[in-house]
């Protein structure tokens, strides 16, 4: 099987679904290569090159460049979805959520409910997120907990090229609005990806590693940091299970609870700010439903409750690290 980058896996998913279903359209800033310019079409394919080559194959009617107006991008996409298309809208950074939140929160997420189930909104909003590039406080956030909080939205956060392709195809085929978040640092990650189309279902966690001593739950880039820590812990005789929920709404509580039944210790690793976060939610679910299984207090390793620093040194300190996970796991392992 060919090794494919996370970026290329997303491109494959978009391309195969656009071929399969003529209702699928792509909308966003520079997704074609710059509207109104006189240069070569398809020069870039979005800021991360994810949509490269699509305008050449599918034309400007299906790969639509927009002005820098997130409210228009999402509003247009939500309306198109309601009236029969299956748009994939791209927000350059999830941080720009602020300027189009009403379109998402009060419009797209509510249509099905407010029209008595008669309206469907097969909309995907893709956005880049996460720290690690010194992109500053307004271009580095992990805002998935905000979307996860809103009923009517599905929230998808892939950690591997295989999952990226399968989850994006699933998102495009889903009849509800899906927020699809791509971590900045993962685009060049390579992995085995089938050439054929496939779907990865929402609400099924991926158990990345199995161990009997503690359960680490992590998303996106943090799964890789957690796996690194788990390898280091294994050398010290502590075997960790690492679970990637893959979607935070729906959340596969069963897989997490089952693992806690074996290990009795939970460590949640989350690049988000800690208050009202996905990490808090997972901790709450386990405290509520698996209290009897717990042998140790639940621990969260998260970013601090601060903006993401611009300084590379501070940014590095801000992001949860493998040594921090290791140290917390060693503490948890002492409880029995």
């Amino acid at each position: 099987m060919a090794r494919t980058s996370f970026r290329q896996a997303l491109n494959d998913a978009l391309r195969s679904e656009m071929r399969r279903d003529s209702r699928v359209v792509v909308i966003g800033e520079d997704v074609a290569g710059g509207a109104g310019g006189t240069g070569v079409d398809d020069a870039y394919g979005g800021i991360m090159g994810v949509t490269r080559g699509l305008v050449g194959e599918f034309g400007r009617a299906r790969v639509i460049d927009t002005p820098i107006t997130e409210s228009a991008i999402v509003g247009m996409a939500a309306g198109a979805a309601m009236t029969g298309l299956r748009p994939v809208a791209e927000l350059m950074f999830v941080d720009f959520l602020g300027v189009c939140l009403d379109q998402i929160l009060n419009q797209a997420a509510k249509f099905r409910y407010m029209f008595g189930g008669k309206a469907r909104t097969p909309l995907v909003i893709r956005a880049m997120f996460g720290a690690g590039f010194s992109a500053g406080a307004q271009h580095s956030q992990c805002l998935y907990s905000i979307f996860t909080h809103i009923p009517g939205l599905k929230v998808v956060i892939p950690s591997s090229p295989y999952d990226a392709k399968g989850l994006l195809i699933q998102a495009i085929r889903d009849d509800d609005p899906v927020i699809f978040l791509e971590h900045t640092k993962l685009y060049d990650l390579e992995g085995e990806v089938p050439a054929e189309s496939y779907t990865v279902p929402f609400g099924e966690a991926h158990v990345l590693r199995e161990g009997g001593d503690l359960t680490i739950v992590a998303l996106a880039r943090m799964t890789h940091v957690a796996l690194e820590a788990a390898s280091a812990l294994a050398e010290k005789g502590i075997e960790a299970t690492v679970i990637d929920p893959r979607t935070t709404s729906p959340l596969d509580e069963a897989t997490i609870l089952e693992s806690i039944g074996v290990t009795g210790r939970l460590l949640v690793v989350d690049e988000s700010n800690p208050r009202c976060s996905v990490a808090s939610e997972i901790a709450a679910v386990v405290a509520e439903r698996a209290f009897r299984d717990l042998k140790a207090p639940i621990r969260r390793i998260t970013a601090p409750h601060t903006p993401v620093p611009f300084s590379p040194v501070l940014e590095n300190a801000y992001i949860p690290s493998s040594p921090a996970i290791e140290a917390a796991a060693m503490e948890l392992a002492k409880w029995s």
């Binding site: 099987m1 060919a2 295989y162 054929e196 189309s197 496939y198 279902p201 099924e204 158990v207």
Partner: protein, 376 residues
């Protein structure tokens, strides 16, 4: 007598080996089992032992040189053989087949080959080894060529082997017409024809065994021997509950529960096996293809009739069956067939007791090959 020494295939991923040094000098005698030459691969260094006693007459590949698996690296012969006879032997010795028309960018590490069927669909197969008579492996329902993980490499040390992915499975197109045994067999037979094998040993597991019999029926002159593992054949019944659960299973835990039924010891199931099956089942078209095959090939008991032409050839058939098989019932194995019960196996004897199964297969092939020689 002249014996070829070839670059061995140690393990599935070995494509080539480097001669570290010869342990026997050219012209010196060697005993069977004596260390002959040290070989290094990308993973290991190991010594190749002489299979026969004789004189090491030629070292054809020098220390430091790297050649592909199956290449002739030396000659052992008895004293009386002339130099010119050895030269003739070397000239005639078949070169290993080049890894032709491979798909994908990393062709060197991926021995998959894609054949185009008359329907335009793709039939995928995995080839290993390049010596001796050809062996064709056919997996069962819901499997793929990886089911032969513990078998193909070992058999490939002595034979040219090809493991097909049945239509709807593995790397083959996930589309079938009716999904009947006849349809699947005709696709496989077409693939065998494309590969231009003269004589083949057919090895089939479960549904693949039923297909092997159908291939045999269509091309009896091509088939040197037939080996059937946990066969869906001779009137056996398939476990319908397992089949419908397997088709509908979507989540890892459901797939794992299904796979547990296949093995005498469910602990034999590894997480990566489950993940591979889950990933297969997520591919577009797989559920539909499996449902069609189940409905048309597996719902009724396997055909019990054997064509009169084959009835006299039953001594060329080996059946290997696990005593703890929960998936396919025993059926009525015809008179003359060699029957081997595996006491520690369920439905997957080739994975559960691979060494024993490989030994039985190689012995069965050797007997058929020597019978072939007798006929000619």
């Amino acid at each position: 007598m002249i014996w070829a020494i070839t670059m061995p295939t140690w393990g599935l991923s070995m494509q080539e080996g480097t001669i570290v040094g010869w342990r026997v000098a050219e012209g010196s005698p060697t005993a069977a089992g004596a260390e002959l030459v040290e070989i290094e691969t990308s993973k290991i260094a190991n010594s190749l032992e002489a299979r026969e006693a004789g004189v090491l007459r030629r070292q054809l590949v020098k220390a430091g040189q790297t050649v592909a698996c199956g290449e002739l690296i030396g000659i052992i012969a008895t004293d009386e053989v002339s130099e010119s006879a050895i030269d003739a032997f070397i000239a005639k010795f078949p070169r290993p087949r080049p890894a032709a028309s491979q798909a994908g960018e990393n062709a060197s590490s991926d021995p998959s080959l894609f054949l185009e069927l008359p329907s335009g669909r793709r039939l995928c197969c995995t080839m290993r080894g390049n010596l001796g008579s050809a062996v064709v492996f056919l997996h069962g329902f819901g499997g793929d060529s990886h089911t032969w993980l513990f078998n193909q490499g070992g058999v490939a040390e002595h034979h040219l082997t090809v493991a097909f992915d049945l239509p709807g499975h593995g790397g083959s197109t996930k589309q079938v017409d009716s999904g009947s045994i006849e349809e699947l067999a005709s696709s496989v037979a077409y693939g065998i024809d494309q590969l231009e094998f003269n004589r083949i040993h057919l090895v089939g597991h479960s549904l693949g065994a039923g297909i092997a019999l159908a291939v045999w029926e269509g091309r009896p002159e091509r088939v040197a021997s037939v080996s059937l593992l946990a066969p869906f054949a001779f009137g056996s019944h398939a476990n319908q509950r397992y089949i419908s659960d397997f088709i509908s299973a979507q989540r890892s835990r459901d797939v794992q529960r299904c796979l547990a039924l296949l093995f005498a010891d469910p602990k034999a199931i590894r997480r990566d096996m489950v993940e591979a099956v889950v990933r297969y089942k997520r591919l577009d078209g797989v559920t539909e293809a499996l449902a069609k095959i189940a409905a048309s090939a597996l719902r009724e008991p396997a055909p019990i009739e054997i064509s009169p032409a084959l009835k006299t050839l039953m001594s060329g058939v080996l059946v290997i069956r696990g005593v703890h098989d929960n998936i396919v019932s025993a059926g009525e194995v015809p008179f003359g067939v060699k029957l081997q019960a595996m006491t520690h196996s369920g439905h997957m004897p080739h994975m559960e007791e691979p060494d024993r199964v490989n030994e039985l297969l190689l012995k069965h092939f050797a007997e058929a090959d020597s019978a072939d020689m007798g006929v000619r």
